[in-house]
């Protein structure tokens, strides 16, 4: 109840912005999270999210050390996430092997570059809020940007739903049906990159993978097909973010980790519940 009162309190608008951001961005999390889980590219999303620190660091450095105002942390994050997605995509399309090595290398080089930029940026920069997120720092201007990114990601993913589904499920067959599968795979990775930037805003770099995959994994336990999984994953993501925020507000806990723990507990509960049900009926229900 405290949480609901606080939401209505005009003195603390940041709580409303945080909740709105979480709910709006859940659309992208649910849709892209489903593709990422179904196609099994969680580790790529992880690498992209850690590369984002390089972009944030570069943005801070450009603004504070070089005085380039238009290239801030968010622009830096978007640019680096897209570059990382394209590098990983091109490697996996053309090199066939050692994809995991490239992913691992990008993962840590991205972090290292970001920390170096931050170290050389004048004034004190707290990397913690980028690593572990702070949704409560979102301003009204941020909310518009989140809305714009969200619309781009969800809109594109839905317009090309069948092409992306085919590329994820059966790349070779899609190619034989005349689909440019390489372009659609790169498109999927770029959409993942933009979603990762949104996620970094909500839960921080380190916990991106959890909020991207846990709602989709929970949804996968009940869904009858990819479309249903997307809808359920979006709803789960909304539920985890809003209840996580409520708990973090009520008990004065950091918001990012609370959201992740709520999501993790829900996932474990669903797994345990399925096992029990499975044992009782002997019938597997749904997948993932």
């Amino acid at each position: 109840m405290d949480f609901l009162n606080a939401l209505a309190d005009p003195a603390i608008p940041f709580l409303r912005y945080a909740l709105l951001t979480g709910i709006v961005a859940s659309l992208a999390f649910g849709i892209i999270g489903t593709y990422v889980v179904a196609r099994r590219i969680t580790y790529i999303a992880g690498a992209i999210s850690h590369c984002v620190l390089a972009g944030i660091g570069a943005g801070l450095y450009c603004q504070k050390a070089l005085g380039i105002d238009w290239f801030g942390p968010l622009t830096g994050a978007i640019v680096t996430a897209l570059i990382a997605a394209l590098i990983i995509g091109l490697v996996s399309l053309h090199a066939n092997q050692r994809e995991d090595t490239v992913i691992g290398a990008l993962w840590s080089i991205g972090m290292a570059t970001g920390l170096l930029f931050i170290a050389k940026t004048p004034g004190y920069v707290e990397p913690m809020s980028y690593l572990f997120g702070n949704i409560l720092l979102i301003s009204q201007a941020d909310l518009w940007l989140v809305l714009a990114l969200d619309t781009v990601v969800a809109g594109t993913a839905l317009l090309f739903y069948h092409q992306l589904l085919a590329v994820c499920f059966d790349e070779e067959y899609a190619r034989l049906r005349g689909i440019r599968t390489d372009l659609f795979y790169l498109l999927l990775l770029c959409l993942t990159a933009l979603t990762v930037v949104l996620l970094v805003r909500v839960v921080g770099i380190v916990m991106v993978i959890a909020l991207l995959t846990l709602p989709a994994a929970v949804a996968g336990s009940f869904a009858r097909g990819l479309w249903q999984m997307m809808v359920l994953a979006t709803l789960c993501s909304m539920l985890f973010i809003s209840s996580g925020l409520a708990v973090s507000y009520s008990y004065d806990l950091p918001s990012g980790p609370t959201i992740i723990v709520v999501a993790g507990l829900a996932y474990l509960l669903v797994l345990a519940g399925k096992r029990l049900l499975h044992r009782r009926t002997g019938q597997p229900k749904g997948i993932a």
């Binding site: 179904a38 069948h162 499920f169 034989l176 049906r177 005349g178 996968g220 097909g225």
Partner: protein
């Protein structure tokens, strides 16, 4: 009257992978409504031949024409049925969505048209899967998955049906069913199938291509122990396991 265009023509084809030859001097002609079975030992080049015909691989030397065109251009008119076991067993996709993939080339953006959906449903009905369309691909049986993939190829309305090891991992009853289905489809389509199951080959196909580096075509009636020895290169121990027996004992066209 001009002679009908052969469905597949291969002339003087060589294929090498990383310098080591896989196929050598292949010459092949497949007429419309023929049924050809490609058999041979593992690593003999069966799947390579299939991928060359699909345009997924390029020959090192020689020429392939499929339905009178280059394979990459003809691929939209070919119904390809991969092995169902290649798919991620946890992928959340419905049977209808899999079959609709056969219509991907007709899709620009957004949802499929009503016409595409009707074609997909008709193909499912033809494979006897009409009531499974909302089920998950992962939860139906192996034989049903195999027929879903054939339905996908039919929804694409190709003229040539190419199947890769369709008898792998399915039980004898499902195999029998598959054989009936192919026999029916062969009345209007050309059927090409890769298998290592020579018993299956002898039951239905009009001709057999033995692929082991080189490709030799035989009418089914010639399939003898001698031929199989040549094909696999050396003496092999053979165990008969016919699925059906005629009243008078084992099938007369089985192996000696």
């Amino acid at each position: 009257m001009t002679a009908p265009v052969p469905v597949v023509t291969i002339r003087g084809l060589d294929f090498a992978y990383n310098g080591s030859p896989i196929l050598r001097n292949v010459n092949l002609e497949i007429a419309a409504r023929d049924s050809l079975c490609i058999v041979g030992p593992n690593g003999g080049g069966k799947t390579t031949l299939l991928k060359l015909i699909l345009g997924l691989l390029q020959p090192t030397r020689g020429e392939i024409r499929v339905l009178g065109e280059r394979p990459e251009k003809a691929s939209l008119r070919v119904g390809y049925v991969p092995q169902y076991a290649h798919y991620d067993p946890l992928f959340p996709v419905t049977v209808l969505d899999v079959v609709l993939m056969g219509r991907l080339d007709r899709l620009a953006i957004g949802p499929y048209t009503r016409q595409d959906r009707e074609a997909a449903r008709a193909a499912l009905a033809e494979m006897g899967l009409a009531d499974l369309e909302r089920r998950l691909f992962a939860e139906i049986s192996g034989g049903q998955r195999q027929r879903t993939l054939i339905a996908r190829a039919l929804a694409a309305s190709g003229e040539l049906l190419l199947l890769d090891e369709p008898t792998a991992n399915i039980d004898a009853a499902a195999e029998e069913h598959l054989f009936e289905v192919l026999k029916k489809l062969n009345q209007r389509l050309t059927v090409m199938l890769v298998t290592h199951d020579v018993g299956f080959a002898s039951k239905f196909f009009k001709s057999i291509a033995c692929v082991n580096r080189e490709v030799v075509i035989h009418p089914t009636s010639e399939l003898t122990g001698e031929l199989i020895r040549n094909m696999y290169g050396g003496d092999i121990r053979m165990i008969r396991h016919d699925h059906r027996c005629a009243e008078g004992g084992h099938c007369s066209h089985g192996l000696p």
